[in-house]
């Protein structure tokens, strides 16, 4: 299969397949979680705790007092990676064109040099987090194959996207094709790996905030 053939497949049936599996997987995983339900809490809440779950969804994005100092690499690496990745995915003009084609929605992009910086920052952050995972005893204990897989699934799209944009390899078509295929792989495995946190963390944070809020504690 030539680069062009792969690109054609990736842009056509490959994309449809990947997005389809991703949507199916996300819905399945959400049902797996929510269908378990939970018992109503009969303890009367201390105060009106409406909204505490929603508040925690936002507040949990910030480090609690003292934590940034204890784990600077995890926090800063995490921020730089997530923000850089989000900029690269959602604010690179060719990506926005793709979203417009798929969803019919469009929004303004960022200048390419900015997206470039964001991508490089995300790549460096991912590498730093990888080193952190290799050397920190806590992370090493927690790490399993899924963590390496999730890291690679995120890293390859970034590095291939960067390579394609800068024409780092002679065969641009193939580079672009590999980039798209790597994104499709990411989409397919997202619901079934720890990357699913991009959806489930909203549920987790909501429950946490709601449970604490009933007791009068903003978590």
């Amino acid at each position: 299969m030539s680069g062009l053939e792969l690109l054609t497949w990736a842009r056509g049936p490959g994309l449809v397949l990947a997005v389809g599996i991703c949507i199916f997987g996300v819905i399945l995983r959400l049902i797996e979680i929510l269908a378990l339900g939970r018992q109503a809490d009969l303890a009367s809440p201390r105060q009106n705790s409406t909204g505490s779950g929603w508040r925690t969804i936002f507040t949990r994005s910030l480090p609690p007092p003292g934590m940034l100092r204890r784990a600077p690499l995890t926090y800063l690496g995490g921020y730089v990676f997530h923000i850089g990745m989000a900029i690269a995915v959602f604010f690179f003009v060719p990506h926005i064109e793709l979203f417009r084609g798929l969803l019919g929605l469009r929004w303004p992009g960022l200048p390419n040099p900015l997206v470039d910086i964001a991508s490089i920052a995300a790549i460096i952050a991912l590498l730093a987090l990888l080193v952190g995972r290799l050397v920190d005893p806590v992370k090493r204990l927690l790490t399993n194959a899924g963590d390496w897989l999730a890291w690679a699934l995120t890293f390859v799209p970034l590095i291939t996207g960067y390579s394609a944009y800068h024409h780092l390899f002679e065969n641009y078509t193939l580079t672009l094709a590999v980039h798209i295929v790597s994104v499709e792989l990411l989409l397919v495995l997202l619901p079934f790996s720890k990357l699913f946190h991009v959806f489930s963390l909203f549920i987790a944070r909501w429950y946490n905030g709601e449970i604490s809020g009933r007791k009068g504690v903003a978590s």
Partner: protein, 419 residues
């Protein structure tokens, strides 16, 4: 699979609900929970990483409640939970977790790890992997009403002493009182002045109150060991006494998990709402203060700080009340680092102090509190949990620290403006 292991795994399956599934699905193995846990920060031992303590429960979730996990189990790729594994996890789940809840405040994806430890203990206890100390304490609670084996005659003796010492009348089995006063074992055995102090304060405020011969002990080992049936039995005794006596409010004593057991888990254990209110003594004191029925005079004239008991502050929401009270009587009150809901545990909550096996670890974990107190440079620490008090007192002895430790209710009673 042995019958006890089967019971344990069944209990794991039973406690897994949507929040637990969302929590496990969200964990990204970032390790930040370790940095929030004093058992890790004071030992540097990665096995004390909070989320790691839940590994067997996580695998049961994965193998039973996710499609991929079930497929893996079907083709024999899943690693089943074994009896040996649960035995190895027992020290992690019971000795190195005081269910203080700090990790639940820190986890960036929002996992309430502490809630999951509470749930996991149900399976550990069912599988026979609860520590000896907690098992005996729970047995004594069921038999005698108290984990320390305190009997009503002991309470009667304390009542007589307190009546004499405080010059008050201590009503027993009085119907229609405003408050039913409970104690923890520690208050009956070590800090009987708590009872005298509460009596004086309530009398002074013009409130009616009573003890019950059938429910004087608020401690609930069922919550700590993770056996909801027993926890229900213990809470049920209090509920019955309170409803028989038709009291308006039950006062949970200066004990952390007793409050969690009665106030937050109680109605859920009983499967119904109560016909009375449940308040921690500090909430009652602050209510009285705000309504002008708690009149205080004088002040304690030395620098002091407040140790937040986890179950009262972070897991119970009572963190402003002690400060409002202290500001009135202690002009030199100073906060230690990470005050209020981000406090560091004394190391002995959640049944750790009742678990002899955990003692060496608990002593190491106390180094966090030690460092906090030393950094602040005060010689007086006030708290509002009898268990924290016992744990801290023992640790202060161990580390040869010359620190005075006071109970807040007693301190308030000492500053009552008598009419």
């Amino acid at each position: 699979m042995s019958a006890s292991l089967q019971r344990g795994v069944n209990a794991f399956k039973e406690v897994i609900d949507a929040p637990v599934a969302a929590f496990f699905a969200s964990c990204v193995h970032c390790g930040l929970c370790a940095e929030s846990c004093l058992f890790y920060t004071e030992t540097g031992d990665p096995q004390y990483t909070p989320i790691h303590k839940l590994e067997p429960l996580r695998r049961v979730w994965q193998q039973e409640y996710t499609l991929l996990g079930r497929l893996a189990k079907l083709v024999g790729l899943a690693k089943p939970v074994t009896d040996a594994e649960l035995a190895a996890w027992s020290p992690l789940v019971y000795d190195s977790c005081s269910m203080c809840g700090r990790c639940s405040m820190v986890c960036p994806v929002g996992n309430d790890i502490t809630l999951m430890i509470r749930k996991m203990r149900e399976g550990m206890a069912a599988a026979g992997h609860a520590p000896e100390g907690l098992v005996t304490a729970t047995q004594r609670s069921i038999q005698s009403g108290s984990p320390a084996g305190v009997k009503w005659v002991t309470v009667q003796a304390q009542i007589k002493r307190m009546q004499k010492q405080f010059g008050i009348d201590i009503p027993v089995n009085l119907e229609n009182a405003d408050y039913l006063v409970l104690m923890s074992s520690w208050e009956i055995l070590n800090y009987p002045e708590y009872l005298g102090s509460v009596g004086r304060i309530l009398d002074n405020a013009g409130a009616t109150w009573t003890l019950s011969e059938h429910a004087y002990e608020a401690t609930n080992s069922g919550i700590q060991i993770g056996v909801s049936d027993l926890a229900r039995e213990l809470v049920g005794r209090i509920v019955k006494a309170a409803e028989d006596l038709k009291v308006k409010c039950v006062i949970s004593p200066e004990c952390g998990h007793a409050y969690t057991a009665l106030r937050w888990e109680g109605p859920n254990l009983m499967g119904r709402r109560f016909g009375f209110e449940v308040k921690h003594i500090l909430e009652v004191l602050d209510d009285l203060r705000r309504s002008g029925r708690l009149k205080l005079k004088g002040s304690i004239d030395k620098p002091l700080t407040y140790h937040d008991p986890c179950q009262i502050s972070r897991r119970g929401g009572v963190h402003q009340q002690p400060r409002a009270l202290l500001r009135q009587i202690a002009p030199q009150f100073r906060e230690m680092s990470d005050p209020g809901v981000m406090n560091w545990c004394c190391g002995g909550g959640g049944g750790v102090s009742a678990n002899e096996r955990a003692e060496p670890l608990r002593t190491i974990a106390f180094k966090r509190k030690k460092a906090q107190i030393e950094k602040l440079g005060v010689n007086t620490v006030v708290t509002s949990c009898a268990n924290c008090r016992v744990v801290i007192e023992e640790a202060l002895e161990h580390y040869h620290m010359n620190i005075e430790l006071l109970g807040l209710t007693e301190l308030v009673a000492e500053h009552l403006a008598e009419d």
